[in-house]
């Protein structure tokens, strides 16, 4: 019986410790954003890495999501002769939900793992210690640029995803399923509100912060050589993805 309580206790304490350290790192990051020296070059190069280089992944994900969404909802709506609503469903699902979530998950897999691996390698090869000895704060130098770049680039990527997703749906509906293009476009525009897009972009900002904080945290506190870097990388992706899915529900519920 004791061992059960031990088990629960140990894991509860570890969970709370970890949450506390992540929150503290997040807090430090936010504070350091507003403290000099301000560097432009590093955030810009991170934006290129996180944003520009993610475009192909995001475009392919969004295109096929929009396309399959059109196929599936067509099958459903056909049963009660409402095929013309496919455009509405695609537009709402992509902008409110699938655009931000799938972009968040895909970019976390691509960028989060790289962030954790890079910072983790810097930790185990003492490069982070070297930063301290050069009187440079590693949170300011390493984490702030990645955090800012994620915060800015995630919404921009989601805008891409929204446009491409809707175009994917249009392509399948009009070119393959033979829906009238004018009706499809009208059904898309008539029911789509700016709020749908804003809520998706808000989600993207939150997902960007989650991904950057979690991935940098995992990398920054890596222990145990090459194996440790591997574990940190895996944890960064898994934990970012889970937190993105969980926070997605709560943001949606809040904005409902």
């Amino acid at each position: 019986m004791n061992s059960v309580f031990d088990y629960i206790g140990v894991h509860l304490i570890r969970f709370l410790q970890e949450s506390g350290r992540i929150t503290m790192l997040f807090g430090q990051t936010v504070v350091w954003i507003f403290r000099p020296p301000f560097d432009v070059r590093e955030p810009l190069s991170q934006m290129e890495e996180i944003g520009v280089r993610s475009i192909p992944v995001v475009v392919i994900t969004a295109a096929f999501t929009g396309m399959v969404l059109a196929l599936q909802s067509f099958t459903g709506f056909k049963r009660f002769h409402a095929e013309t609503l496919v455009g509405t469903v695609v537009a709402l699902s992509v902008t409110r939900e699938l655009g931000p979530v799938l972009t968040g998950l895909m970019v976390s897999g691509r960028v989060g793992s790289a962030m954790a691996a890079e910072l983790g390698t810097m930790r185990v090869t003492e490069q982070i210690d070297a930063l301290y000895t050069l009187a440079t704060n590693p949170v300011k130098y390493l984490i702030v640029p990645r955090f800012l770049a994620s915060l800015v680039m995630f919404p921009i990527l989601v805008v891409f995803a929204d446009i491409i997703g809707i175009m994917g749906g249009y392509f399948v509906s009009v070119k393959i399923l033979g829906t009238n293009p004018t009706i499809y476009i009208r059904r898309t525009w008539d029911y789509l509100e700016l709020n749908d897009i804003y809520s998706g972009l808000l989600k993207a900002c939150v997902f960007g912060m989650i991904m950057a904080t979690i991935s940098c945290y995992q990398g920054f506190y890596t222990e145990g050589g090459a194996e440790g870097v591997g574990k940190a990388t895996t944890r960064a992706v898994v934990l970012s993805s889970l937190l993105i899915l969980i926070s997605n529900y709560f943001i949606t519920a809040l904005l409902f």
């Binding site: 003492e126 490069q127 050069l134 009187a135 704060n137």
Partner: protein
């Protein structure tokens, strides 16, 4: 060299544990101004932890560390950074930033803490690299360097801010004997030319005898003996004798 010189770094009753592993158990050490102190000891006795405490990378559990008379164990990050500007540190594997070129590595401190332009920084970096015997490597990336070159670039980086104190973490580990001697010569030169105070940790006795003014032996979390290289060789302490002769049998427990 300096028998009555003023004390530059003073470590008093320093304790540090990691979980149940009580690494430092009351370390006392005085390093005089301009002196080259070498701390010897087996693997895992806490040599690295000791110098990481001195430069503020690891916070000790208790005890005092004074640099130029100023207590550093209780300082906040900002004041600690001011103290760190007095230090330069050579890491075991170099710890060069692999996303930056050699000259950007060497000039990193200057870039962060001065308003010098890239051209001036590159020029200073070139000078520091010459000081450690490297030419025409400014534009290479760290991945293109050999182990010995990495250590020398790392030394150049440590020198760039003109520190008063240099810390060497196993400066000769992982190098062939000739490159090890090149590094030893550099360490001796740095002390003569730049009059820096230095602390090196090592288990390479050849290196220790070559670079040390005094040698301190760290064993089971304490400094058990401090003396000149000659005193160290003549030590009557069986633990010191076993270590410097590198024998497997003796009072030191091999784990």
């Amino acid at each position: 060299m300096v028998e009555d010189g003023s004390v530059k770094i003073e470590v008093v009753d320093l304790h540090k544990s990691f979980g149940n592993n009580h690494v430092l158990r009351g370390v006392n050490l005085k390093v005089r101004d301009g002196e080259s102190m070498v701390v010897i000891g087996g693997s895992g006795v806490g040599k690295s932890v000791l110098i990481k405490c001195i430069i503020g990378l690891v916070r000790p559990d208790s005890g005092n560390i004074r640099v130029d008379g100023q207590e550093i164990t209780s300082l906040d990050e900002k004041s600690l950074n001011e103290i760190r500007k007095k230090f330069g540190m050579l890491f075991q594997a170099g710890a060069l930033f692999d996303s930056l070129s050699v000259w950007e590595n060497v000039g990193f401190g200057l870039k962060q803490h001065t308003s010098l332009g890239d051209g001036e920084i590159k020029a200073i970096a070139g000078e520091k690299l010459k000081l450690v015997g490297l030419r025409h490597v400014e534009d290479l990336m760290p991945s293109e360097l050999s182990g010995g070159m990495r250590k020398r670039v790392s030394l150049a980086r440590a020198l760039a801010m003109e520190p008063e104190i240099l810390l060497y973490d196993e400066p000769t580990t992982g190098l062939d004997p000739i490159m090890a001697d090149v590094i030893n010569d550099l360490i001796v030169q740095m002390r003569r030319k730049l009059r820096v105070t230095s602390i090196a940790i090592t288990h390479d006795m050849v290196s220790a005898y070559k670079i040390a003014d005094r040698i301190a032996m760290l064993y089971e979390g304490e400094i058990i003996e401090v003396g000149t290289p000659q005193q160290n060789k003549d030590s009557s302490n069986p633990i010191v004798q076993q270590f410097i002769q590198g024998r497997a049998e003796g009072p030191i427990k091999v784990r």
